[in-house]
């Protein structure tokens, strides 16, 4: 066991897989001698060298396309798009190529690749927009968004070993924020399994990434108001673990969904719609979604703080479903 930050846990997962499996290599910008954007690849180039840690030009589409090609040949490329804001530049490679190949070749080919990318608000505020909900809409892709160092290591390991294209969203706010006990030996957190991060009876808050921490804080605060709030960390965006959400809602009868990206058309819409289809009878209140307002994400700290959903937004939403 070591106490690792979120990013250290991610790097540890990558390093361990690179030691274990010579087919694993990295493509990305500034991942070599610099050690990665926000220290996101620290030590990998020193250990694995130029051939396995490839600094690329600013060519997001070809980077992802190259990973598809290498994966077709049985490699296990990890391609890093520095920020999720640039995923749109590589979207065709992701959704028309990577996602389609296994099905379209009737299983003759598969594309075991990882796209890692940084998202969310962060200490430097740069590149805050992300489109993770898009990926959940596209068949043939998996997508995860860990909220803790433990899950970060386990999900990254699972992503690298997965025979499909997996997008790993790494939350910038969490990168250097917290330390967690992380086992030294390899382990996987299975893709597609949500986790009950906190048990409760009166309402369920389903959250992703940074919002898991805000939901936990909100839940703690709400005990003072006599409420027992369950928090479910989705962890995977594709496939979504709807059964875990259903089980929680059947227990609490009240559902709030919180994520940092835009509420309209966000991943919360799919979670809500799934519950409205599968467990509407269990609900004692409307399903309330908490997400960013429908505007581009502003840059200044003062505006960003006004803009993003915070602990109070989640508390309010819980009170609303509880009092319904």
């Amino acid at each position: 066991m070591a106490r690792l930050t979120y990013v250290e846990a991610i790097v540890a997962a990558i390093a361990a897989e690179m030691r274990r499996d010579p087919r694993v290599f990295l493509l990305g910008q500034d991942i070599g001698p610099l050690g990665g954007v926000m220290r996101g690849a620290r030590g990998l180039w020193e250990e694995f060298g130029d051939a396995r840690v490839l600094d690329t030009p600013i060519s997001e589409s070809a980077m992802v396309g190259a990973a598809v090609g290498a994966a077709l040949m049985g490699k296990r490329p990890i391609v890093e798009i520095s920020f999720g804001e640039f995923l749109p530049l590589a979207m065709s490679q992701l959704v028309l190529q990577a996602a389609n190949i296994h099905y379209m070749t009737a299983g003759a080919a598969s594309v075991p690749m990882v796209v890692r990318t940084r998202i969310g608000d962060g200490p430097y505020r740069g590149h805050p927009q992300c489109y993770e909900a898009w990926l959940a809409h596209v068949p043939g892709l998996k997508a995860v968004l860990p909220a803790t160092p433990y899950d970060a290591r386990g999900l990254m390991t699972a992503a690298i070993r997965d025979p499909n294209p997996v997008i790993v969203f790494e939350h910038m706010q969490l990168y250097h924020l917290l330390r967690d006990e992380v086992p030294d030996e390899d382990y996987e957190v299975p893709i597609g399994q949500a986790v009950v991060a906190r048990e409760g009876r009166d309402a369920t808050v389903v959250a992703t990434g940074w919002m898991v921490h805000r939901a936990l804080a909100a839940a703690d605060a709400l005990t003072a108001e006599g409420m027992s709030v369950e928090v479910v960390d989705l962890r995977s965006l594709a496939p979504l673990d709807i059964p875990t959400v259903v089980a929680s809602v059947r227990k609490t009868s009240r559902l709030v969904i919180a994520h940092e990206s835009w509420k309209v058309g966000g991943i919360g819409a799919e979670v809500s719609a799934s519950i409205a289809e599968e467990a509407v009878d269990a609900l004692d209140a409307p399903i309330v979604r908490v997400g960013a307002p429908h505007a581009p994400v502003p840059s200044a700290r003062s505006l960003r703080d006004l803009f993003l959903p915070d602990e109070e937004s989640i508390r309010k939403a819980v009170r609303k479903v509880a009092e319904f």
Partner: protein, 348 residues
């Protein structure tokens, strides 16, 4: 059997034997025949008639462990050259269950197991980057063998010499992926040959409407790689240029860009009358049709007698007919082919 003794032919490397020349002819004839068959089977087929010399010449003589990332126009002959089954290809064009994609993918996809990259959607240009990744994988194998933990690189290990041929259209040459992929291939000296199957049109547009230069090869200098322009209706010229570039790639000297200038004798799709272009232009290109041209050449240099070639064409026609029969009799793709639970690969 030695190389045929003609100045043009001896220029080719590795040397082509008379048997090779006949095989090239057979493949061109087969390409012509199967393309018109596909165009009849499927009115939305994109026929490659006229471009056979470029297509066959680019991919002939590759090793089985090389990979081809073909242009979407005319890939069937390439799949065949790599080992595909013709009836299954026709099945593919018809959306039959026996098609390699079982009706799931576009009609012009093929079997990936024979060293080609798959066509799954029509987003032109992305294939140049996917091909780049295949070449990167070959480069990576070579680097791994060079690492202290691997046997030393002796230059003879086959994995050290695998190469990629990526063909693409002149219209496609303007997609961003062209630029990004060629740049990375050049930087890392990847073993790949980019061949522009330049048929002077992108759907209805004449190339001067989208290409401000006379040859796509003019773009090679911007990546510091060799560029060459060849007569794309001269199969030996194409083969020679591509093989020289492949040899270079195998030697680890990096990518090349070749513009093979040819012509789309028919419309963009089978039912397109192509009346947006001057009849005189099409007529002049019909005179340069690569098939009769190669036929004359073969007879001239004594590589084949005319009736030899007639026989070959008859064989090809029979082969196509037989495969068509099999394909037509096969059932349409049905519920068992839909495979809604085969979207994600399972961990083996």
């Amino acid at each position: 059997m030695g190389a045929v003794n003609s100045p043009e032919v001896t220029r080719t490397r590795p040397a082509l034997t008379p048997a090779d020349l006949l095989e090239l002819y057979r493949l061109m004839a087969l390409c012509r025949t199967l393309e018109s068959a596909c165009a009849e089977l499927n009115p939305r087929w994109f026929p490659a008639e006229g471009e056979e010399a470029t297509i066959v010449g680019s991919c002939y003589g590759l090793r089985p462990d090389d990979v081809v990332a073909p242009h979407y126009r005319g890939p069937f002959i390439i799949y065949l050259m790599r080992g595909a089954d013709l009836a299954r290809l026709f099945g593919q064009a018809l959306g039959k269950s026996i098609g390699y994609a079982r009706g799931r993918a576009v009609p012009f996809t093929g079997p990936v197991k024979v060293g080609v990259t798959p066509w799954v959607a029509g987003d032109l240009g992305t294939s140049l980057s996917v091909a780049l990744g295949v070449a990167l994988s070959f480069w990576y194998d070579r680097q791994m063998r060079r690492s202290p933990h691997s046997p030393p690189l002796d230059g003879t290990h086959p994995a050290d010499e695998r190469a990629v041929v990526c063909t693409f259209g002149d219209g496609t040459a303007n997609r961003g992926d062209f630029h990004e992929a060629l740049n990375m291939a050049a930087l890392w000296k990847l073993p790949i040959v980019y061949v522009c199957q330049n048929n002077r049109y992108a759907i209805s547009l004449e190339s001067r409407k989208y290409l401000p230069v006379a040859t796509v090869a003019d773009r090679a200098a911007g990546y510091g790689i060799p560029g060459a322009t060849v007569d794309g209706n001269d199969i030996l010229a194409v083969h020679d240029a591509v093989q020289a570039a492949v040899a270079r790639a195998r030697r680890g000297e990096g990518p090349s860009l070749i513009d093979a200038q040819t012509y789309r004798l028919r419309g963009h799709w089978a039912e397109d009358a192509a009346d947006y272009r001057p009849e005189a232009e099409a007529a002049s290109w019909r005179e340069r049709d690569p098939l009769p041209r190669f036929e004359r050449r073969l007879v001239e240099i004594g590589a084949a007698a005319a009736d030899n070639l007639v026989r070959l064409r008859e064989q090809v026609a029979a082969e196509v007919d037989a495969a068509l029969d099999r394909a037509r009799q096969a059932p349409d793709a049905g519920p068992a082919d839909l495979g809604l639970d085969e979207v994600l690969a399972w961990r083996g």
